[in-house]
Amino acid sequence: MLNYTLRRLFYMIVTLWLISTVVFVLMKNLPGDPFGEASQKLTAENRKILMEQYGLDKSLPEQYLIYMKSLLKGDLGVSYQFPAHSVTDKIKQAFPASLELGLWAALIAVSVGLLLGIIASLNHNKTPDHAAMVTAVIGVSIPSFVMGPLLSYFVGVKLGWLPPGLWNGPEHRVLPAIALSFGTLAIMARMMRTSMLDVLNQDYIKTAKAKGLSGYAIVVKHTIRNAILPVITVLGPIFVSLITGTLVVEKIFSVPGLGTQFILSITSNDYTMISGLTLFYSSILVVVIFLTDIAYGFIDPRIRLAKGRK
């Protein structure tokens, strides 16, 4: 297990290094002037001072080393558009709202998704199964950036049950979290159903039935416990889709989170902000994928043995 963890850790570090290098290369190739529109008016001397201040007068390899060093210290630079703020400050300020939204959505997606999958599998090829699977396919087909406006309009504006936007009280959490969770909920439900059906066909379930165990004990103790294992593998991708989903869902519901900030910096060409947030998002995702892989290795020894043997 230690061997497996170390190997995965090594890959994670290489991945992170690769991402930060790609981001560095892309940043150096961005079109336009790093100091924005107003830089046309700068005198040559002012420009030189600015270049020195941001270290842009050094050679590329030198800049790369400085960039890597500051990354290791957790310093993502200063926003070009709002020089008073460092990117790290902005992240500290905006990330909690995004995290909260993501966690609520994950909670809804996992609990409702698993439940739907279980209900569907226990009623295989009957009406509840079909209903759950139709819901799941529709969930996959309507992305969160469409679900968001629709929920906001129908539930928020037409029915007036819940606020259509903003982020103040608990009632503001409901609609964005539902909009964000819909797609992942569908994936969870489908995964769980397939996995449950797989387990229900196993011999040990027949044995359990033959022993005369109650239906409840079979489902809860034997089926769900075993069926939930493969579902853990999709948790990584699910977090990916939740986190990228927050980008658009936050914009739709005017949530003051990191996604809103990201889109704002894209529209205002705030390059340091974009690269900083890209690195931040990527690192979260890479770490989450690493953790789910490790968790899966812990829970299911077959995985680490199969992978470790190579």
Binding site: P31, V137, S141, I142, P143, V146, P149, V248, I274, V286
Partner: protein, 305 residues
Amino acid sequence: MMPVSNDKFKPVVQDTIGREQIVRPSLNYWQDAWRRLKKNKLAMTGLIILVFLTLMSIFMPLFSSHDYATQNYDITNLRPSAEHWFGTDDFGRDLWTRVWWGTRISLFIGVTAALIDLVIGVIYGGISAYYGGRVDNIMQRFIEIIYAIPYLIIAILLIMVLGPGIWSILLAYALTGWVPMARLVRGQLLALKEQEFVMAARTLGASARRIIFRHLIPNSLGVIIVQITFVVPSAIFFEAFLSFIGLGIRPPLASLGSILSDGASVIRFHPHRILIPTAVFSMILLSFNLLGDGLRDALDPKMRK
């Protein structure tokens, strides 16, 4: 006891050839798959919707009396009417034409991305599986490293460098989207390589080339096709996502993603501007997903009963 005369008996002519005769025509893999697909109502619904939408997106912009770019400030944000079937947007452009143009562009991006995916994935996976050993090891380690890269986030930066447009979106997708396909092809070929029919072919003296192109590739085609039906909607989603955050197709041209993005901002006042493109967009994704599920059941030999 009465003697039974011999002429009451007649020898039964044993029709050995007739007994062995196969009455029904034999079905090859594809006919068999098609037969199973036809029985799947959901998948056929998906196929029909898909054909319908494709035809609409090809022909409707041709026959429409409006084009996608002409602006007319006297008729902004009209509700659907006899003149403008889907209404107009805030520049007075005809939404009927724009939606079908958008469908055309979204489908084009989806299908092209899938083809790029297919080429890179099959080559990479094929080389990895065929050569095996050290080559395979290095190629797989490389995949393991880039697999964890969140492509949607990196694509945002990439498109800022390349400038928005169809080709940057396709390039961004191609650079990152091929990994699952390569893994799938490799896994499939590795499993097939060990099977008896390949050994038989080798024993009979078939060349490596013949084995790859006549045996390995055709046998993994089913799984590849299923994967493609899932790549297309994910590429369409990719484009719509980028358009939604303002990095997609440049106006006046529109994709479904950019129409949705425009519509979302005015949903409170002009709901038709998002409801109609939503319906079309969801129908595309829905039909691909239904068809993909059906194809997987029909083509995947493991699912055969």
